[in-house]
């Protein structure tokens, strides 16, 4: 399999001097396309910081992040935005849908940002909503959707630009376990079906067990979880 993500000596320090906090310490690992990776660890362990750096939302203090052979660690703000538009699908913990848009329009926001054919984007949005089982709620405003429906719309939005990376931050935090499992399974299916790389940050060991690879983070240090292949 192709190496989709190669991280080498990645660190992130917030602040400076005595107030400096090293959120991620010298992380190195590789992931392949078609894998679904879970990162687990307690709050404040640096999981979200790591995810944000991989997604081009944060610039690392040191180290490299290669996505399909391209180092994205030193991109300018504009290049980071372009990278996020073209290569990253992000599912936020609180789903962060735009509340004044319908479920379908929240997916089509991606086409508005990236440009491209409107008709094709509408077809893709309708197909994704169908695959995620929320086509009947396509024209409901985001504020009218249930927590599970919102999270599935957020997954659809993350897949709209056919990204190489699908990054998911605590997708089940606001859902009951049955609904959470359904959401993660949907996500896993999409990643597998389209040979993408999925990385999910979670507290929930049950959800983490659904992943191909589980990594643990403690105080900014990353290691392969026990029982996982090296």
């Amino acid at each position: 399999m192709t190496v989709a993500l190669r991280i080498d000596g990645l660190s992130k320090t917030y602040g400076s001097g005595d107030a400096a906090v090293e959120a991620v310490k010298n992380a190195s690992f590789t992931c392949e396309a078609g894998q679904f990776v879970a990162i687990v660890g307690p709050s404040g362990s640096g999981k979200t910081t790591l995810l944000a750096m991989i997604g081009g939302l944060l610039t690392p203090t040191s180290g490299t992040i290669e996505v399909n052979g391209r180092d994205i660690a030193r991109l300018s703000k504009g290049e980071q935005a372009k990278f996020r538009r073209s290569s990253v699908g992000y599912v936020f913990q609180a789903n962060n849908l735009l509340p004044f848009l319908t479920a379908r329009e929240n997916l089509l926001v991606i086409q508005r940002l990236s440009g491209g054919n409107r008709g094709e984007a509408e077809q893709r949005a309708d197909r994704l909503l169908g695959e995620l089982g929320i086509e009947k709620r396509a024209n409901a405003l985001a504020t009218e959707l249930s927590g599970g429906e919102r999270q599935r719309v957020a997954i659809g939005r993350a897949l709209m630009n056919d990204p190489a990376l699908v990054l998911v931050d605590e997708p089940t935090a606001s859902l009951d376990s049955a609904r959470g499992r359904q959401v993660v399974t949907s996500l896993l299916d999409e990643v597998k079906a389209r040979t993408k790389l999925g990385i999910m940050v979670t507290h929930d060991p049950e959800m983490a067990r659904l992943a191909d690879v589980v990594m643990e983070m403690h105080d900014g240090v990353m290691r392969q979880a026990a029982g996982q292949p090296a």
């Binding site: 944000a52 939302l57 935005a81 735009l98 004044f100 940002l113």
Partner: protein, 367 residues
């Protein structure tokens, strides 16, 4: 556009801002209308003179009130090079007593029938040389007094009262904040200086038609353009600067209020903006959405304010004691554009805020 879609979906929120913009635009338009109305009262009769230039006494410092021209000076002015046509005009303020006993001041302008100073009569007939006790009254005078063509009015001046017949109605405007009333020049001289006697002034000013007369100077006189003459009407300069200051404050307050409203709105939406940026939106893209919203709200607000101000002007114009307010198309267009630009300038503060939002906020919301 997402920004415009947001307006459609958040009608109450944006509707409230549109109301504020409407009220500010209405206020600024009304101030501008009052400015024009006051200008009309100050000297629309002067602006309506059929003349390219106006000649004053050399020592009058361009004051119609103080200008007095003898017949020899009037002759020299009329004979000056480049003068194609001319007309001597006399001015005096006089009181008119209505049948009810109420007294109203009017600007009496003495002219010679058949000269370029003769006003167009809209009802009744023009004065002839025989109408020494006849007058042509501006429509605003008739409206304010309730008098009509054919009625008699008592004119008080110099401790005497003379009965005048209203021969015709004219639409010449006002002079020195008084409605214009035209009488024969001989009648004017009598009203102002008493029975004819040698050495009496022949006119206050002389209207001139011809090219290159706006800097004409000669023995005992000087001529200026109508614009310069208007600006030198007593009180006009102060009035203009007051109105200009009010307009300036109107625009400033408009920019601040619209700016602050959009700034607060932007602060409330920082999370959403962060999400858009996290999804790959550039700062310029998000700024364009805010700009589109400001433009749309400003255009809607001004679009409501313009007919509202126009209707208010019409309604005030129907009052017996009309408020000096007037509008023209230029005022509406210029003021509307200025208000939209003002709104955009005010909202640029929000634009800066938007451009600076860090996409990491999208994650911060959930931590």
């Amino acid at each position: 556009m997402i920004g415009l879609l947001e307006i459609r979906r958040r009608k109450v929120q944006f509707g409230l801002i549109a109301i504020v913009v409407t009220l500010i635009a209405y206020l600024v338009l009304m101030i501008n209308g009052l400015g024009i109305g006051l200008n009309e009262l100050a000297g629309s009769a002067l602006r309506n003179f059929n003349a390219d230039a106006i000649a004053y006494s050399e020592v009058a410092d361009l004051s119609v009130i103080r200008s007095e021209l003898g017949q020899d000076t009037v002759d020299r002015i009329q004979a000056a090079q480049g003068v194609k046509a001319s007309a001597a005009i006399g001015y005096v303020a006089a009181n008119v007593r209505q049948a009810s006993g109420r007294i109203r001041s009017a600007a009496f302008l003495g002219y010679d029938p058949g000269s370029i100073a003769e006003p167009e009569v809209t009802s009744g007939r023009a004065l002839t040389a025989a109408d020494s006790r006849g007058l042509l009254a501006d429509k605003s005078f008739l409206k304010a007094t309730g008098l009509r063509v054919g009625d008699t009015a008592s004119v008080n001046l110099r401790l005497t009262t003379e009965q005048f017949t209203i021969i015709g109605e004219i639409d010449q405007g006002a002079f020195f904040f008084q409605p214009a009333v035209y009488v024969l020049r001989d009648t004017w001289r009598e009203l102002k200086y008493g029975p004819p006697s040698p050495g009496q002034p022949a006119a206050s000013i002389v209207l001139l038609k011809g090219k290159g007369l706006t800097s004409l100077k000669g023995d005992g006189f000087r001529a200026v353009s109508k614009d310069v003459a208007f600006a030198n009407i007593e009180g006009v300069a102060g009035q203009q600067s007051t109105v200009s200051a009010l307009q300036g404050f109107g625009y400033l307050i408009g920019a601040l209020v619209i700016g602050v409203f959009f700034y607060v709105l932007t602060l409330q939406k920082i999370g959403q903006i962060g999400v858009l940026k996290a999804l790959g939106a550039s700062g310029f893209y998000v700024f364009r959405q805010v700009l589109a919203q400001v433009l749309a709200i400003s255009i809607v607000g001004v679009g409501i304010a313009v007919p509202l101000a126009w209707a208010t002007g019409k309604a005030l114009g129907r009052l017996p004691q009309s408020v000096p307010i007037a509008f023209d198309n230029t005022t509406f267009v210029v003021t509307s554009l200025a208000l939209v630009v003002t709104g955009v300038v005010g909202a640029l503060f929000s634009g800066r805020q938007v451009a600076g939002v860090d996409p990491i906020i999208a994650l911060g919301q959930q931590q």
